[in-house]
């Protein structure tokens, strides 16, 4: 009994960490190139809504997944233009994207499905397939982490991406097109966050609901910071947050106060957010952000 509980906790942790890993690794490509991506939340929502809507019309989760990647990439590209071309404050612009995706899915679902913010329920056989109780997206997340590790440290692209995020002037002097790499980084973050969002709506559940990411984009960002902008550490941070979440779910209705009453659900809900704050307060001191993070590159200033 106890061991089954533990195993289910492991699976639950992996499931809950999956969208975080996709979004956080997405954020890594953006932030390693020097662009703060606080829009992960909105980009996940973009992916989640597009995936659910496309799957509803095409009956293919793969089409849903692909369209989610495209849609989130498109809005990441918009964010990139605003931040790179027009040198907007990246946090402000990212907040704009986040608010956009509080409204846009609601307006679209109102027009398409005459509902206020959710898509129709999808049948189980139209969801992303599972292997050994885990979604393929979860398994691919693991692959993503190791591919990213390789790309970042063992390819010219990774070397250039890191140099652009650390010292864009030096990269420019070495003949690297700084802004092109930054666009690439931000758009990649959109693609990956879009997959994370699609997993929420056509993997973990079977429809899109209003604001269904519920802060996961921000938790992913926190995991990225906690993981010191490195792929494997970031994945471990995501697993930690996923574990906190899994524990939360298992504790509901189980954990009792000394008085014998249930622990109020609100306190359980707070756990991941409190953990994030504690973790950031304790560890950011040792964590060094990419040198040029948040600084637009303007060679003539």
């Amino acid at each position: 009994m106890r061991s089954i509980l533990t195993l289910s906790l492991v699976f639950s942790t992996i499931r809950l960490a999956t969208p975080l890993v996709w979004a956080a690794i997405g954020g890594l490509y953006s932030e390693r190139s020097g662009v703060i991506n606080i829009a992960l939340e909105g980009l996940m929502l973009a992916g989640a809504f597009t995936a659910a809507a496309t799957t509803y019309y095409t009956h293919s989760p793969w089409a849903g997944l692909g369209s989610a990647m495209l849609a989130a990439a498109f809005f990441a590209f918009l964010l990139a233009i605003v931040c790179i071309r027009f040198k907007a404050n990246e946090v402000v612009a990212g907040t704009g994207i986040n608010i956009l995706f509080l409204g846009l899915p609601a307006v679209l679902s109102g027009a398409l499905f005459l509902s206020s913010g959710s898509t129709p329920q999808l049948p189980k056989d139209e969801l992303l397939p599972e292997v050994a109780q885990l979604s393929v997206v979860s398994l691919l997340a693991l692959l993503l982490v190791f591919v990213t590790q390789y790309v970042l440290y063992r390819t010219p692209f990774g070397l250039r991406l890191r140099s652009v995020g650390e010292n864009p002037e030096a990269a420019d002097a070495a003949g690297i097109r700084v802004n092109r790499l930054r666009y690439t980084g931000v758009v990649l973050s959109g693609v990956l966050a879009g997959i994370g969002g699609a997993y929420l709506s056509i993997g973990q559940s079977s429809l899109f609901t209003r604001n269904m990411t519920a802060g996961r984009g921000f938790i992913a960002l926190a995991a990225l910071i906690f993981g010191k902008w490195r792929p494997i550490q970031t994945m471990l941070a995501c697993l930690l947050f996923g574990f906190a979440d899994a524990l939360t779910i298992q504790m509901q209705g189980v954990a009792k106060l000394p008085s014998g009453e249930d622990v109020p659900v609100q306190f359980i809900q707070m756990i991941p957010y409190v953990v994030t704050i504690v973790v950031l307060a304790g560890f950011i001191g040792h964590s060094r952000a990419p040198g040029a993070l948040g600084v637009p590159y303007d060679k003539e200033s």
Partner: protein, 505 residues
């Protein structure tokens, strides 16, 4: 490689940085480009390297017109550049930095081993002694500069542009560096060196181009000119190369530092058991290569470092001030002109008037009365007008944002503000960095006048000339310690240089 700039013009907003420039750099020579700060030297060479694009004009490489739109184009043509601020990615290794942008191996696999071998070979060929696997932030400034040279050589540069390469080097390191440049010339490479140090121009170059106000005002063979003639061309008039000052009349001890040590945030020792005094009416100069503890020393004295990082005693006017914060120290009469005016000294988007009260903004006359929180705008304006008049700040409009001023005028504004305190001790770092010659003379006269009024002055400057010309006593800092004290009137630059590198005079 022969490089020619023909009729190059470049504007930044209202500023005409390059005005129909014509410069010819013959192949296989060392060519110096000299001029004051803001004369347009760096802009011209950044255009040649593709960092900026000229508004009009053309660039010829080996007598052919070439489009250089980005550094990549320049690199492909065999042009390399070492910038004044090194273009190195600090957390990455030497090899990673050198191959950046020209990586060996395929797009899917970076071959760093082969690259490291080539870097090692090049390093040996030019006697540069650089470890390919070291991380940049662990290297000394001189080593970093050699990494920059390697970067250009790795890409088979035939023409190398060096922007103020000696600013960060000791006199001895400069000699070694010049030896490297001569070796490169022997291998028929072309070298362009941008500098404002006339002695170095005469020592190393074959030809000199002199620039002033964005224009070329002279092209001469080095052998046919001298320092005075070059200086005249640079400034457009006769210049005083020495500061006129009467002998100091030192009074009572103002500042007494005993056993001062400073630990950085990273735990490294920045200053190690330093003791000295500064008396009223004298200027004590601190010489040394930048990064040997000068910044930390001044910040510690100004109260800008956390107490936990500082140990030892600092007495001012006979009382221990270690526990006082920056505000209390200023109240006690310690003024501070910081080394980096943009980082520390100014609020660039605030008006000149608002900038003249920084540090005294909380007390009369900046506020209406003791205990008042309301700013007294007429009084602030009055103070600003006073500073602007006394220090000849131009344009003289207190409502302008500080950003709108030239470097020299910004510096005069800061110095004027600090002189208004009025100070009993002035801490002044790099007082004339990035300032034109006219303003340099003005600032030097003001500092001497302040000394003669009885104020104690502690001066830090990376310009050896400035320290020896202004100071009455000179302390040399090396590696966080005082390597020696010298009399500026009786010492040669070589002797100071030896102390700066840890040797003995």
């Amino acid at each position: 490689m022969r490089l020619e700039l023909r009729n190059i013009t470049k504007r930044f907003g209202a500023v005409l940085a390059n005005d129909h420039l014509n410069i010819v750099i013959p192949s296989g020579t060392i060519h110096a480009i000299v001029g004051e700060n803001g004369a347009g030297k760096s802009t011209a060479m950044r255009i040649a390297y593709g960092f900026y694009r000229a508004d009009s004009g053309e660039i010829l490489v080996n007598d052919e017109v070439r489009e250089i739109r980005a550094p990549l184009d320049a690199i492909a043509l065999g042009i390399g550049m070492v910038h004044q601020h090194f273009m190195l990615v600090r957390p990455m290794t030497v090899t990673e930095n050198i191959v950046l942008g020209a990586e060996p191996g395929s797009a899917l696999a970076l071959d760093l081993k082969a690259a490291a071998a080539r870097v090692r070979a090049l390093s040996e060929e030019f006697k540069l002694a650089v470890d390919p696997d070291a991380v940049i932030e662990d290297l000394s400034v001189g080593q970093q500069q050699r990494v920059e040279l390697l970067k250009a050589l790795y890409r088979k540069a035939e023409l190398l542009i060096l922007d103020e390469p000696t600013a960060v080097l000791t006199p001895q390191e400069v000699e070694e560096f010049f030896a490297i440049l001569r070796r490169m010339r022997e291998q028929s490479k072309t070298v362009v060196i941008i500098t404002h140090k006339l002695s170095e121009v005469l020592a190393i170059s074959d030809n000199v181009t002199v620039m002033r106000d964005g224009r070329v005002v002279g092209n001469v063979k080095t052998g046919e000119t001298d320092a005075a003639a070059l200086a005249r061309m640079m400034v457009g008039r006769e210049v005083l190369l020495r500061v006129e000052k009467p002998p100091a009349k030192p009074g009572a001890t103002a500042l007494s530092v005993r056993g001062l040590s400073i630990t950085g945030r990273d735990g490294a020792r920045r200053l190690d058991n330093v003791s000295f005094e500064v008396r009223g009416g004298e200027i004590v100069g601190i010489a040394g290569v930048e990064g040997n503890g000068q910044t930390e020393l001044i910040e510690a004295l100004a109260g800008l470092l956390p107490e936990s990082q500082v140990s030892g005693s600092i007495a001012f006017g006979g009382r221990d001030i270690r526990a006082l914060d920056a505000r209390r120290r200023r109240e006690a009469g310690i003024a501070h002109v910081p080394e980096d005016r943009h980082r520390r000294g100014l609020l660039l988007d605030f008006s000149l008037a608002e900038n003249t009260i920084l540090g005294v903004h909380y007390r009369p006359p900046a506020v209406s009365g003791a205990g008042s929180v309301l700013l007294n705008e007429p009084a602030i304006r009055h103070r600003a007008e006073l500073v602007i008049r006394e220090f000849d700040v131009r344009p003289p409009n207190p409502a302008l944002p500080a950003r709108a001023l030239s470097g020299g005028n910004q510096q005069k504004l800061i110095i004027g503000r600090e002189f208004e305190l009025p100070p009993l001790l002035l801490l002044i770092s790099q007082p004339t960095r990035g300032v034109d010659i006219g303003a340099i003379e003005f600032i030097h006269r003001k500092i001497v006048a302040l000394r003669d009024s009885g104020c104690a002055v502690l001066l830090v400057s990376a310009e050896l000339e400035e320290v020896t010309a202004l100071a009455d006593r000179v302390l040399v800092l090396h590696n966080g310690r005082i390597a020696g004290e010298v009399d500026p009137a009786a010492v040669t630059h070589e002797q100071i240089g030896l102390l700066m590198t840890g040797g003995h005079a």
